[in-house]
Amino acid sequence: MKQSFWKFFFLIWLVCISNASHALEVIEILGGKASQIPVAVIPFKDNNAQKSMQLMHEVITNDLNRSGLFSSIDISGVSDYPIDEREVNFSNWAALQSQFIVVGKIDAIGRSNSQMQVTWSLIDIYKEKTVLSVAIKGQPSQYRVIAHRIADTIYEKLTGSKGVFDTNIAFVKKLGKEKYSLFIADYDGHNPRAIVNSRYSIISPRWSPNGKKIAYVSFEKKKPVIYVQDIETGKRTLLANFRGNNSAPAWSPDSKKLAIVLTYSANSQIYTIDADGKNIKQLMRTRSINTEPAWSPNGKEIYFSSDRAGSAQIYKVDVDTNEVVRVTFEGNNNVSPSLSPDGKLLLFLNQDNGSYRVAIQNLLSNQMLKLTNGPDDESPIFSPNGHMVLFTYKDYGKVSKIGTVSINGLKMTPIDVGSETILESTWGPLSD
């Protein structure tokens, strides 16, 4: 009995020893890189030979590239285009360093083949399996929208965030002397349509978070005043025409209020006002200039730029308590703040050594990253998913253009909206 007990004990001890010596080696991998997912978008097989539809893979490729999270694979050397998983030669695509490929086909459907159906798949090359397979219908003329939606679906599947390829931007163009227009277009500049035409310059367009209205500053009353315009009906209302200048409108996250800047009492101060023009209140009273308000996504704080410390820096103020905290410290001047949709990143213009660059600051770590090289970048604004920034820049001819830059700084892409100079731009919300 005793002996068997000791035997048992010995056995347990052996097990313990062997377990200890066979503990797994642990490798810790701290951090990572800002790399791009290599993806190949294969031309969809078009059974009806619609020329516009054949451009869909280009639209998708451009969308994914622009995000900075993807890099497209050159498929010029590939001769046979698969249309689904069964036709994919995985080792060939792996050899091309492709992690994912997008394949599909286009069929004519409906009465007299007027409708199109695109059946496409996203295929994982490493796992050798189809990640998702979708059929989408539409008019041939809608091929860009269909392509954007496909890109959005891919984007969301692989990054976990909504894609912004089916959103709109707005920008002000100077078409000639005393000829200004506020345009709305696809996010990549296609399909522009003017919603405001004016002899006076228009600046600071801001889309309401619910997507229904645009606020902007017009000089038509010989001084800056703020209008709010309903996009669908085109009806506009004068929001702020107070003594002095009325400028820099910023929508609250619930679209019910705006923060605006007035020079009502001497210098620029921030006020809040209801979207119908009622209930105006001054936020803080200081001797220094407070301007360029931007709401935090929770609506509790307003970020703004101020010269109170000598140089222009970004601060935040608690809307309820009026308590002010300085946010930026690097660089000579930091202006034009706005917040990412998750409230974790601050976007602004950083001025150092005479050039203005688009920069972001992680509000958790306070690390700053300059996204562009300047020297005359302006009016940065986040895409609705916070992964890209729309901004204006001056090219060699000193003409202002617009472009996007990914927040990893890896991809800067111009948006082609013609040769005329762009005054300012803004990005609309996600469509539901």
Binding site: E25, L30, G31, K33, S161, K344, S365
Partner: protein, 309 residues
């Protein structure tokens, strides 16, 4: 083509058997000895150029290892030689003993069989005679019975004799056993000495391997190769942790993919990290089997957005 001398002569058969066994054991022993002396230290040389910082401590130990190694073969050979001799003696003795034992058993068996046969025959005879002569020939029967009894007694005697022989043998065997045990004891002591030495050398080698960073070097190489592929943009901004377990082939390729033990709770992040592991194939693997066995199962801990406090 019968070989009666072979079939009948138990001794010769046994001797041949012994010889074969011995040969086989001898060959195996030599083979195993060569194996032991040859195996261990060869894979460490080529891979040193990669990480300069970790090379420095290594050559010292590397230079030291051959010094320890050089005397080793002679000592080992001596031990092996001694063991060989001892083994041969032991085996001879064992075989002889086995032979004797077998012979005895055979004799015993044959005697028993003979007895059985005779008894059976007798019974048959008895039965037949009984049927023929019936009651009238009781005398004869009695005589026969007596005879049978005598025969039985004889058989018993024979058996007793055999048993005596056995006892003698056992005694002899016991004596031999003493010798044997002594011999084994000696051998064991020698073995123990050898084993201790091997153990010490083994740990020295292991310690040398780990201290010089051979294991750490490969861990660092693996870490680097996977890190290159971790796309932390797909993991948001908050600190988070993922844990994967992988099993590797000596080629550095994964067996059965990467098993997620702990999720970041962000699907795109989990996927991105899994892709990073898959993409890193083949992972750098040491040629040395011992090192490989330490690295073939790995736990990978990821903190894409920096350390969690």
């Amino acid at each position: 083509m019968r070989l009666p001398w072979l079939e009948n002569n138990d001794n010769l058969q046994a001797n041949l058997f012994t010889l074969v066994i011995h040969l086989a054991l001898f060959i195996f022993m030599i083979f195993s000895v060569n194996w032991q002396v040859k195996t261990p230290y060869y894979a460490e040389v080529e891979l040193w150029d990669a990480i300069p910082t970790q090379i420095k401590p290594k050559p010292l130990i590397k230079r030291a290892t051959p010094k320890v190694q050089k005397p080793q073969p002679s000592i080992a050979e001596k031990i092996v030689e001694a063991k060989k001799d001892a083994d041969i003696q032991l085996k001879k003795k064992k075989a002889a003993e086995l032979k004797k034992k077998k012979a005895a058993e055979l004799k015993k068996k044959k005697a028993a069989e003979l007895k059985k046969k005779k008894a059976a025959e007798l019974k048959k005879k008895k039965a037949a005679e009984l049927k023929k002569k019936k009651a009238a020939e009781l005398k004869k029967i009695e005589q026969l019975k007596k005879k049978a009894l005598e025969e039985e007694k004889l058989a018993e005697l024979q058996k007793r004799l055999l048993e005596d022989e056995e006892v003698e043998k056992v005694q002899k065997k016991l004596l031999e056993q003493d010798d044997l045990e002594r011999l084994q004891e000696e051998l064991r002591n020698k073995d123990l000495a050898k084993e201790t030495r091997i153990a010490i050398e083994g740990t020295q080698d292991l310690v040398a391997g780990t201290n010089s960073g051979e294991l750490e070097k490969y861990k660092a190489l693996i870490q680097q190769k996977i890190y290159q592929n971790v796309n932390k943009q797909l993991c948001g901004l908050d600190p988070l942790e993922l844990i994967f377990e992988i099993v590797l082939m000596p080629t550095g390729d994964l067996i059965g993919g990467a098993k997620m033990i702990k999720s970041s709770k962000i699907e795109s992040c989990d996927q991105a990290v899994e892709r990073a592991i898959l993409q890193a194939q083949p992972l750098p693997m040491p040629q040395d089997n011992r090192l490989f066995s330490q690295l073939k199962k790995l736990k990978l801990k990821f903190q894409p957005n920096g350390p969690i406090n």
